[in-house]
Symmetry: C2
Subunit: 291 residues, 2 copies
Amino acid sequence: MSASLSIAFIGTGVMGRSMAGHLQKAGHALHVHNRTREKAQALLDAGARWHDSAGSAAAGADIVITIVGFPQDVESTYLGKDGIIERARPGALLIDMTTSSPVLARRIAEAAAGRGLAALDAPVSGGDLGARDARLAIMVGGDASAFARAKPIFELMGKTINHLGGPGAGQHCKMANQIALAVGMVAWCEGLAYAKAAGLPVDLVHATISGGAAGSWVMTNLAPKAFAENYAPGFYVKHFLKDMRIALESAAELKIELPGLVLAKQLYDRVEAQGWSECGTQALYRLYAGR
Amino acid sequence: MSASLSIAFIGTGVMGRSMAGHLQKAGHALHVHNRTREKAQALLDAGARWHDSAGSAAAGADIVITIVGFPQDVESTYLGKDGIIERARPGALLIDMTTSSPVLARRIAEAAAGRGLAALDAPVSGGDLGARDARLAIMVGGDASAFARAKPIFELMGKTINHLGGPGAGQHCKMANQIALAVGMVAWCEGLAYAKAAGLPVDLVHATISGGAAGSWVMTNLAPKAFAENYAPGFYVKHFLKDMRIALESAAELKIELPGLVLAKQLYDRVEAQGWSECGTQALYRLYAGR
């Protein structure tokens, strides 16, 4: 992609501002909107143009990218009055990178098609570090032609970029990830909380088992934080709960029983009830280890 | 360790025969016993001496190693009439490498001490391949002096060799491993069964998520087997259920709630009820994916 495009970028939080920065550095013209203008300041200082609404930012853009908070934010940003679907120019490509509902992704794709727009759902994993280093995994749902058009843009932000199927398939893939992640958190917490209850040195148990068959990314990376009583958020409990809610709704629609996910959600509800929703997801260990 | 020792090795199943083979190759004199004599044949052909009972094998040995099936087998082998505690010669070092009950490990250590014997619990992880390649993780509980004495022997069989504490601590560490493993199986099965139910290509979902935060050793190594409907046992469902029973009993004694483990056990009970107890643990995916 050599030509400079006009890109609207809606949502310049921790993830979004890093991602938009990569697009800006590659020479694309950015039109930005965010609920809190200050969070877009670095992009504005580097030449991005501010808009007071998502619809206004989208109006002249070749590509519209959103990464906002909750499914209801996605819904109002796209489908609401003065929203993206209403304001985007025919032929524009819309890409929602929020972790959101697969059903909503399909609704947006249908509404987009009805107005001559292409739409992709493309949630990411890899966290703020992955966004900063342009190493995100990007999970894409939508038409193959739209995916092909978006790919050079994705390559500026991510490393593993896969097209999983039609509209909603990106969100479904992200939900598969979040389900495995949620139950995987229960896995290491229970194993190591058991070791602690048995009076074993948890650091040595961790060193003994984390490289073997019981090992996982979260055991390797989050258990040491929990042992050190460091509950600073890499990934917030409140956001994890949002994802689990979406996954449970989606599983109900698909009529698949996921008792592990149900349990993980119940446990994280207890974490939230302790007042730890602004903590990182490793706060689950605290629930077991009782500190 | 340059001097050749007389080592009794009780239990020459898939794991035991590889482990005993390493000791034999290092020049130690083996005295073997197994429920099924044929499974010891390769060791006997290489010079090991057969005994008709564990007690008889143990009677003249410097070190007695056991790796048998269930806790009741461990109990009768050590504490039964004509068992190892009764027959071992004073000063001998007893090492149980079976995955067994922490409480039983403490009972054996006490009985051993009462007769001037040293005892260690030293269960392993790493499976038949780890045993064959002498790359097991060995998790040891018991006195530090007994551990120091046993370490050169452990180094012939394993790679990660850690002393976790007093009698029972090795078993507790193994239980921590099995708890994390059990819930970790539920994690990838639910994530990928959800993806399948959503109509996504599971191989591509696996490739997308297994290298990230939701990834685990079991997702990387067992999911592809399950997708290929290969349920051949690396680790048997029936043995995994044994371990979960021990872990649940031990958690109850420690008064720690492990709802994830309770759920994993219920799910594997359903796997067994399907007639799949001789399958590998990846058969859990079949329960979700309905094949």
